[in-house]
C-alpha cells in the first residue's frame, strides 16, 4: 500500500488560498453545529432517559424566540457564506487583462493542449510560475472537465461551444490534471500533469521543443489555405467583396441582418465558421458555405486566434497590411486574449 497519505491537497495557485479559506471556515461551522447537535442529543438521552415504562414527556414546547433564533442564525451564516463564496467564484471566472490564453481540447480520452507560441502537448501542460493563464476549453466529442486540484479550478469542456477558467501558478512542481466529467470507458485514464516551472525554465522548455508556428500564425495559414481570404479581404469594401473584412471585428459590436447586435466573441466566430447563415452581418448576403467537418477543433481555435489578432488593428493600418501575408502581420502577443 502506498505510504504517502495526504489529508490536504497541495496548493499551487493564487486561487488555492481563497478556496481553502472558504473550506476551513465552512468546516469549522459544520463541526460546531454537528458537535452541538450531537452533544445535545447525548445529553438529553442521558438526562431524560425513560425511568419507568409508563413515563411520558412534558408538554413543553419551544419558545417563539428560539424558533426564530434557530431559523435566523443559519440563514445569516448561509447568506454570509453565499456572498463570500460568490466573490471567490467570480474571481475564478474573470481572468485579469494580462492573462495569456492557452487552449485545451478534450476528446475521448486525452487533453490536447496548445500554447499561444504554438507548442502542442497531450495530457501535459507546462506553465510558468507567476503568469496568469486563461484556459480556453472545447471538446471534440462528449463533455469533459478540466480539473487541477492543486489549483482548485475546474471547468467543463463542452462540445459546440467555448468555456474558460483561469489560474496563476505559484509553486513549481508537477500536479495532477484530471478529467472530472465522466466521459466513457477510459475516463479514469484521461489524466495528465500540469508542470509548473520557473519562468526561466519555461523559456528554456519553449525554446527546446519543436515549437512550430504560433496559434496566430497557424490561423493565418489556414485563413489562406481555406480560402477565407478570397471573400474576407482586408480593407476591401468594394464591389467585388463578398464578405465583411475582419479587421477590428473581434471584441466589437456587430450589427446583424435581422437588426440584432452582438459582440463578436469566440463563440460568435466559431458559429460563423461552422454555421455561417445563423447570424449574417447586416449588409451582406448569406453566401458563405459551412466549414463544418472541414476544420478541426484545434484549427478553429487557431483561426479564431488569428481573427482576434486582427481585432486590435486599426482599419487604416489593416488596409495597408492587406497585401502582405497575415502571418507576418501579427506577432504573437501575450495580451492578445483580452478584448481591448
Amino acid at each position: 500500500m502506498n505510504s504517502s497519505f495526504p489529508l490536504f491537497p497541495e496548493s499551487a495557485s493564487t486561487h488555492a488560498g481563497s478556496v481553502d479559506a472558504l473550506f476551513i471556515i465552512w468546516a469549522l461551522v459544520s463541526i460546531f453545529f454537528t458537535v452541538l447537535i450531537a452533544g445535545l442529543i447525548v445529553y438529553f438521552m442521558a438526562r431524560y432517559r425513560r425511568s419507568h415504562p409508563e413515563e411520558v414527556g412534558t408538554d413543553e414546547t419551544a419558545a417563539v424566540w428560539l424558533e426564530i433564533a434557530w431559523s435566523a442564525i443559519p440563514l445569516v451564516i448561509a447568506l454570509g457564506m453565499f456572498v463570500w463564496g460568490t466573490r471567490v467564484f467570480f474571481d475564478l471566472y474573470r481572468p485579469p487583462a494580462n492573462a495569456v490564453e492557452y487552449t485545451a481540447i478534450g476528446r475521448q480520452w486525452m487533453w490536447k493542449i496548445q500554447h499561444p507560441e504554438g507548442q502542442r502537448e497531450i495530457n501535459t501542460l507546462h506553465v510558468p510560475v507567476g503568469q496568469s493563464i486563461k484556459m480556453k476549453l472545447a471538446s471534440e466529442d462528449v463533455i469533459h472537465s478540466f480539473y487541477v486540484p492543486a489549483f482548485r479550478i475546474k471547468q467543463d469542456a463542452i462540445p459546440g461551444r467555448y468555456t474558460s477558467i483561469w489560474f496563476q501558478a505559484t509553486k513549481p512542481g508537477v500536479y495532477h490534471l484530471f478529467c472530472a466529467e465522466y466521459c466513457g470507458a477510459e475516463h479514469s485514464k484521461m489524466i495528465g500533469s500540469v508542470i509548473v516551472m520557473e519562468p526561466r525554465d519555461y523559456e528554456a522548455w519553449l525554446a527546446g521543443g519543436a515549437a512550430g508556428k504560433s496559434m496566430v500564425a497557424s490561423g493565418g495559414d489556414l485563413f489562406q489555405s481555406l480560402a477565407c481570404v478570397t471573400c474576407h479581404r482586408a480593407g476591401d469594401t468594394g464591389r467585388l467583396a463578398r464578405g465583411p473584412a475582419l479587421e477590428g471585428v473581434y471584441g466589437h459590436t456587430v450589427k446583424l441582418a435581422d437588426g440584432r447586435t452582438l459582440t463578436a466573441d469566440d463563440d460568435y466566430l466559431r458559429e460563423s465558421i461552422l454555421n455561417p447563415s445563423a447570424k449574417v452581418v447586416a449588409g451582406w448576403e448569406p453566401v458563405m458555405p459551412t466549414f463544418q467537418g472541414q476544420v478541426t477543433e484545434e484549427q478553429l481555435s487557431q483561426l479564431i486566434a488569428y481573427v482576434r489578432s486582427l481585432g486590435s488593428a486599426s482599419p487604416a493600418g489593416a488596409a495597408t497590411a492587406s497585401s502582405s501575408p497575415p502571418v507576418a502581420a501579427t506577432p504573437p502577443a501575450a495580451g492578445s486574449g483580452a478584448p481591448q
Partner: protein, 556 residues
Amino acid sequence: MNTTAAPPVTATAETGFKRPHYLNAAYGVRSWLLTRDHKRIAILYLISVTAFFALGSLFALLIRLELLTPEGDLFQPDTYNRLFTMHGVVMVFFFLIPAIPAVLGNFLVPLMIGAKDLAFPKLNLASWYVYNLGGIFTLWAIVHGGVDTGWTFYTPFSTHYSNTYVISTALGIFITGFSSIFTGLNFIVTIHRMRAPGLTWFRLPLFIWSTYATSLIIVLGTPVIAITILLVAAERVLHLGIFDPALGGDPVLFQHLFWFYSHPAVYIMILPAMGVESELIAAFARKKVVGYKVVAFASVAIAVLGFLVWGHHMFVAGESIYAATVFSVLSMLVAIPSAVKVFNWTATLYQGSISYQTPMLYALGFIGLFTLGGLTGVMVATLGFDVHVHDTYFIVAHFHYIMVGGTIMGYLGGLHYWWPKISGKLYPAFLSKLAALLVFVGFNLTFFPQFILGYLGMPRRYWSYPPEFQVLNVLSTAGASILGVGYILPLCYFVWSMRYGKDSGDNPWGAVGLEWDTTSPPPTENFYTTPVVTHGPYEYNREEVHNRMSQEGTIG
C-alpha cells in the same frame, strides 16, 4: 383520540380462535396479486424494493472491491462503468424514490388518517405492477450487458457515444415514473378527501404532511423526467438534434431538464424520511414534536423551493455566472427549513421520556448523519467552494450522507417502529440494536473518508486512481463491508420474526396516533368503527394514554 372499539374477538389461547386481520383474511397467491388492500400492496412493494435494494447493494460492493487498489485490476473499465451506473439507476429509481412512500406510506397513510383504504385502491395495485414492469425493462438491460452512461445519462455521451442499453434502461425509468405518479396522486386525493371526522390539517401527523409534500413533487416533477427520457430516445433512435451539438442541439439543455426533475427527486427521497423521523422522535420521547406547524410548513417550503435550485448541479458546466449566483442563493434558502427541522427534533428530546429502543437509535443516528449531509450540502452550494469539489468524492460523500444516512436510516427506523403494526410480531431487541450500531459505524467509515478524498481532488467515477488515494479508499471499502452486515441482519430477523417472533400486542411502544388505535396487525378495513379525532397527533399527557399503557403494558 377516541379509542376505536375493541376487536370483536380477542386473541386468546383459550378460544384458540385467531383474530381476523389483513394477513389472515385470505390466503393464496391470488389473494396477494389481486389485492386492493393498501397494506398488502405495501407488503408487495416491500418485497420488490428489498430485491432492488439487494441488487443495488451488490453493485456497490463490487465497486468498493475494485477501488481497494489504485490499479483497475478486478474489472475491465467498461464493466466498472456499468457497475456504478446500474448502482445509481437501481438505487435512485427503484429503491430510494419508492421505498418510504410506497412501503411505509402505502401502509400508513390510510391508518394515520382513519380511512379504510386509499382513494383509488385499484390504481394503487396498478402502480405496483407498473413499477415491476419498469424494473423488468431495466433488469433486461442489466442482464444483456447493462448501461454505462452514469445514472445521470449526460448527453451527448448517452445519445451518441454510448454503445450500451440506454434505451431499455431509460424506458424502465420512464415506466416506473408512472408508478410514482399513481402513488402520489392517490396520496393527495386520499389526504384531501378521506380524513376521519375531526382530523383537521393541523391534527395530521407530520408523516402525512411530508408525504403530502412529497406527493406534490412527484406529480409535478416526474412528467419532466419522462419527457426528457423521450427526447433522449428520439435523438438516439431518430437522430433528431436536441442535445447533440453535431446535430444542432445543446448538451447542457439536457442537464437543465434532467436536474429539473432529479433535484426535486432528492426531496422525494428525503422528505418522507423526515416525516418518519418526526414520528419516531415523538413516539420515543413521548412528547409533542416541538414547533409542529413550523416542521409541517418546512416540508412544504422544501417542496416548493426544491423546484428552484436545479442549476446548482451545473456551476462548472458553462452556466452563466449570474445564473449560478441565483441558484446558489436559492440553494442556501432551501437548506434553512431542513436546519429548522433538525433543531426542532433535537429540542423535542428536551424533557422527553427517552427510550433506547431500536427505532429510536435509527432516529438519533438520522439526526447526526442528516446534519452532516445537510451542512456539506450548503458547503457545495457555495459557489467558490463547489468548483473544486464538483464531481469529486466530496459530492459522492455528501449525497450518500443524505440518501443513505438520511433516507435509509429513516426507512429502517420506520420499518423497525411499525414492524409490530405490520406483522404483529416483535424482532430480537439486542440483535436489532447491534444492527443499528453496525449501520451507523459502517456508514461513517464508508463515507466520511470520501469527504477527504474529494477535497484532495479524487474525481468520481474513476475505475483506477493515483496511489496516494489508496488508504482512504481502503477505509471506505472496510466500512462498506460493515454496513453490508448491518443491512443483512434486519432482513434476517424480520423474516425470522414473522414465524418465530413474540406477539407484539396492539401497541408495544405505548405510542399515540390513529394507527396505534387499531389492532396489530390491523383488520382489512383498518378500523372497527370510524375514529373521531378531537386533538393533535402527539398528545401523551392524557389520562386515557396512561390508562391504556397500564392495561396493555409497553416494552418501551
